[in-house]
Structures are given as structure tokens and as C-alpha cells.
């Protein structure tokens, strides 16, 4: 974990409200594990103090890239930034995914919206090529499908409005696949909390392992403030763990969903 001033190499609109940001961050890039994130201070956000967390989508030797959706003041300000401008980054932060090896279970990735961004590096570093289930509200929210295909992964799409792929929630094609075969498979998911809860329930139902990356509101990002806590089961009950430090990726079976996230 370091703090680094990173220069913007490019910051372009991808589709609809999604942007791709490429940064020169040589102190961070070589150390990123799939599922880890960076915490970004956006200089023009003067009276909005906090850093914003974004998963590292991909890394180069000295660069990292991020896929982000414009949703509020921070991402609006970020979208206005240009090449050669600087951002302050903390990273890489958090505990990421377990990378599938040749001997481990066959990976099924499940992404909702920008969840695809957190899963790309995992797909890239996995020695097994599995299936990606990509879900979103509509066609424009399905990100980087071509890039996953280029890695040799099978991509199955579901949109809520039916504008692309199967109509409905992403958990539907996932269920179909698990019904076909569950044994020897493992789920890796990132997306909105209700989707992650549904994925966890499916994992339980079919008796497969699942790692989920939780989208909690953060503050410090380094484990100091205890903003981002998640209820996690322990041998004698449950305890709060930090999404920014012990997470954002957790073993789905350990999360106490009933306690509410």
C-alpha cells in the first residue's frame, strides 16, 4: 500500500455513463491482486472530502486502468478530467480474489454492472478459462464483453429490459448452468449487494464455494475508521470485519446476510 500521485494517460467515455481511466501509477501497478482497489482523491472536489474507491480493472507495467460509472459528484468531476492531470491514489488496497489454478474448481464469474471491472484481472490471471455471467439493466451497462471473450472466456449476458442477451436477472442463467453442473465449480461475484446475496444463496443451494466482492461505503480505505464493516460469522457468533481491509472480497458462506449490510 502506497500513496502515489498518478498522471492521467487517458479518460474516455466507453458506453453510456461508463468511462475508462488509464493512469500512470508505477508504484501501484506491479502489486495489484485481482479484486483489489485504489482509493482516489479527486482534486476538484473541494468540499466533498472523501476519496472514492474503484476496483483496478487492468494493469500494465506502469499503468492501471479503471472502469467507472458516472453516478454522483465525484464521478462527474472525474469524468471532466483530462490527460496529464494528476490524481492522488492510495493502493493497492483490500483483500482480493483467490486466483483459480489448473487444479482448482472451474470458475464461474458473476458480474452486475461495473462488477465486470473487478473481475477482469481475475479472468486474465486465472489459468482456467471459465464462464462469465454478465448482468445489467440494459445493453449499455454490459461492459467489456469483448475483452473477456478475447481472453478465451465464455460470456453469457442477461439484461433486465431484454435489450441484450437473456431477459431478466443474471442469477437466472447462472442457476441454469448450476443445474446443468455444479460439482467442481466455484463462483466469483461482484455487483450490487442484492445480487451478491442472491449469488450466495445459489452457492449454498448448490453446495459450491463463492467469493463475493462487496460494495460497501468506505471512508479511510485503510482499516482505521471502521466505516465499512460487514457482519462475518465466527466460531462463537459473529463479528464486524472491514470491507476495505479483510474485504472487499469475502467468502460468501461467512457473511451474515441476515444482520443486514
Amino acid at each position: 500500500m502506497v500513496e502515489q500521485t498518478a498522471t492521467i494517460i487517458s479518460n474516455r467515455c466507453e458506453t453510456g455513463l461508463y468511462f475508462r481511466l488509464v493512469l500512470h501509477a508505477p508504484a501501484i501497478a506491479p502489486n495489484v491482486q485481482p479484486g483489489q482497489f485504489v482509493h482516489i482523491r479527486i482534486p476538484s472536489l473541494k468540499d466533498a472530502l472523501l476519496r472514492r474507491p474503484f476496483s483496478v480493472f487492468d494493469t500494465g507495467q506502469e499503468t492501471i486502468s479503471i472502469l467507472y460509472k458516472v453516478v454522483g459528484k465525484g464521478t462527474v468531476a472525474l469524468a471532466r478530467m483530462r490527460e496529464n492531470e494528476d490524481l492522488s491514489l492510495l493502493g493497492p488496497l483490500g483483500h482480493g480474489f483467490t486466483i483459480p489454478t489448473a487444479n482448482s474448481e472451474f470458475p464461474l464469474l458473476v458480474a452486475g454492472g461495473y462488477g465486470m471491472a473487478a473481475l477482469y484481472l481475475l479472468a486474465k490471471q486465472s489459468t482456467q478459462k471459465g464462464i462469465v455471467f454478465a448482468g445489467a439493466r440494459e445493453r449499455n451497462d454490459i461492459l467489456c464483453e469483448a475483452e473477456f471473450r478475447a481472453l478465451g472466456w465464455d460470456v453469457r449476458v442477461a439484461t433486465e429490459d431484454g435489450s441484450y442477451g437473456e431477459r431478466g436477472l443474471v442469477t437466472q442463467p447462472l442457476r441454469t448452468e448450476l443445474e446443468r453442473q455444479a460439482e467442481g465449480r466455484k463462483l466469483f461475484a461482484c455487483g450490487p449487494t442484492p445480487m451478491l446475496e442472491a449469488v450466495s444463496k445459489l452457492a449454498e443451494e448448490f453446495g459450491v464455494g463463492a467469493e463475493v466482492s462487496l460494495d460497501q461505503h468506505l471512508c479511510c480505505g485503510v482499516g482505521a475508521c471502521l466505516t465499512c464493516v460487514v457482519p462475518v460469522k465466527t466460531s462463537d457468533g459473529w463479528e464486524y470485519q472491514r470491507a476495505c481491509t479483510e474485504g472487499p472480497v469475502f467468502d460468501a458462506r461467512k457473511i451474515l446476510w441476515e444482520a443486514g449490510l
Binding site: 500513496e3 466533498a48 472523501l50 476519496r51 479511510c220 485503510v222 482505521a224 475508521c225 465499512c228 464493516v229
Partner: protein, 308 residues
């Protein structure tokens, strides 16, 4: 040039520490900043027993500030000593441990346990928490209770005792005096200010705990005034806290009467803030040809113009 200051029996190499609850137990920031360059490390509030804290959301960003209701989550004093003290003990700078409780006895018990630690710098008493044996009002907003807590802790330790005052009072002066009379070696001013935010779309409070405490740059002028008022009423040193982002902010507190300052919310977005403040203070002294930071304390110049 001298930057060192005294807080009770404690000598700080410079007047800059961090505010409790904004810096974890120090270790969380050790990879980002050199802790040994600070005046002291102040850690998150500790109670006798482990505390789970409030439901989420626990913080919410507001204009130039932060609302928080963490609920004083913590491992309890025994786990603190086991898990965090070995790291803190090795630092070259003193550790200040912030404590709290729900009864006077709890405060005394934590104080006793911490006093057994060799090399501990100071104990900071957080009195902004409800008294469960009474009507639930905070210890820090009742003069008698405040006096009772501070004298009870005083009897339990010979370590430097700092009382951290609540801003939620009509005048800070009697509270500052009560803590001084009860044997506090210093004051920390201020804790976060009671506050609330609501999402109009859902009509729900933004915090899981409904209400919380406001911190960050937006509270700085309030904190400067409280320090100014208290400094003229007591002889013990004051640690100024509230919205400090740079050396200029810290100087305001020192000139108003603070002997030291603590960086809080700013750690969350700029972890280097405390060290930059130390550097900035050094530069200020040099530029203004001031030999000793102590000469600056309470040096505010007030020239009242007549109003008629």
C-alpha cells in the same frame, strides 16, 4: 528552533498528534507515514470490554465535513494490550490512549489496566458518551459527573491525564475549569458536534444510528472559539482539535491558546496531513523569526475598536 511542547508530564517533540478514532491504532497508517515524526500517536477509544459498534451506514460525507456514528467499536482493553500495544510500545513517540465507559467504575478500571503498561504516554478521557446509570446524558455535559469521572481516574493513575471535552455545552468555561480542578493535566477540545442528515428520497436518516457527530473543516471555527474561551479560563495545556487540514489551520488553534493540535478527519483523505502540518509549523517559525513555538501559544492580538 524549538517545536517541542509539554502536555502534563509528557514532552512531545512537536505539537502535532492525531485525533482519536481517525487513526486506528497507528499500525493502519504505518506504511503510509512515518509515525515517529509525529508528536504523539493517539488511538481509538478503548472500553473495558469489546464493543461491536453501530449498524451501518456509519459515516456520511457532508459539505466540508463528515458525519459519523461508529459507535466506539473496539476490542476492549485486554485485546488492545495484547494486539496493539506491542507495536505502539516500540515507537519512539508516545502513545495517548483514549478511553471511555458507561459508568464511572468502567473508566477507573480501564485507567488502572492501562497504568500497568510501561512506557504509555498518556490517557485521554472521552466524556462524550452516555452515562447508563443516570438518565443517559453524556458525562461531558454534566458538570458534577465530569468532575467525578476525572477525579476518579486521577486517583487511579499517575500518568498524564487529558480530558477531552464535548462541544455540546452552552459555555465551555465551567467544564474546562471542572476538569482542571478534578486533576486533569490537560484538555482536548473538541470532540465531534452532534448532527444529523436525512435522505429526502427515502426520508431515512443517512446514518444507521440516526444521529452522529460532525467533524472536518466545517467545524474548525467552532473549535477555535472553544479553545480560545477555555485557554483564558484554565492554566493547563489544551490540545486543539477540529477540522485541521494544514499548518495555517493548526496555527489558528495555537494562537487561540492551544499548546498542541490533533489532526482528525483529514487523515482519512490526506494521510500525510499531520506530517505536512509539522513541516508547515517549522516554516512559519522560520519565516516569522520565532525561536520557540511556545511563544506563539495564546498570542492572539485583540484590538477592539470602539463601536460608537
Amino acid at each position: 528552533m524549538n517545536l517541542s511542547v509539554k502536555i502534563g508530564r509528557l514532552t512531545l517533540q512537536n505539537p502535532v498528534t492525531v485525533a482519536s478514532g481517525t487513526f486506528g491504532y497507528g499500525a493502519e497508517y504505518a506504511r503510509l507515514i512515518d509515525l515517529n515524526q509525529l508528536g504523539a500517536v493517539t488511538v481509538k477509544g478503548i472500553r473495558v470490554c469489546p464493543v461491536r459498534g453501530n449498524p451501518t451506514p456509519r459515516t456520511f460525507e457532508v459539505t466540508s465535513g463528515l458525519l459519523n456514528a461508529i459507535g466506539l467499536q473496539g476490542p476492549g482493553v485486554d485485546a488492545f494490550i495484547k494486539k496493539y500495544w506491542p507495536f505502539l510500545r516500540e515507537l519512539k513517540v508516545p502513545t495517548i490512549v483514549n478511553i471511555w465507559g458507561t459508568t464511572v467504575d468502567e473508566y477507573v478500571e480501564v485507567t488502572r489496566r492501562l497504568s500497568e503498561l510501561e512506557g504509555l504516554g498518556a490517557i485521554e478521557i472521552n466524556v462524550s458518551c452516555p452515562n447508563v446509570n443516570g438518565d443517559g446524558t453524556a458525562f461531558g455535559t454534566d458538570l458534577n459527573l465530569l468532575g467525578e469521572i476525572v477525579s476518579a481516574c486521577r486517583r487511579a493513575t499517575s500518568l498524564t491525564l487529558i480530558t477531552k471535552l464535548s462541544p455540546n455545552v452552552s459555555s465551555i468555561v465551567p467544564y474546562a475549569k471542572a476538569a482542571e480542578q478534578a486533576g486533569s493535566d490537560a484538555l482536548s477540545i473538541m470532540n465531534s458536534y452532534p448532527a444529523m442528515a436525512i435522505d429526502p428520497e427515502t426520508r431515512r436518516p443517512r446514518l444507521g444510528n440516526v444521529t452522529g457527530g460532525l467533524s472536518g473543516p466545517c467545524i474548525k471555527p467552532i473549535a477555535v472559539k472553544l479553545v480560545f474561551d477555555a485557554a483564558r479560563a484554565v492554566r493547563i495545556p489544551i490540545i486543539g482539535i477540529g477540522g485541521i487540514q494544514d499548518a495555517s489551520d493548526a496555527l489558528e488553534f495555537i494562537i487561540a491558546g492551544a499548546t498542541a493540535v490533533a489532526i482528525g478527519t483529514a487523515n482519512f483523505y490526506e494521510p500525510q496531513t499531520a506530517l505536512r502540518v509539522v513541516e508547515g509549523l517549522r516554516e512559519y517559525l522560520k519565516n516569522h523569526q520565532i525561536e520557540d513555538i511556545n511563544d506563539l501559544i495564546g498570542s492572539v492580538r485583540i484590538e477592539r475598536k470602539s463601536s460608537c
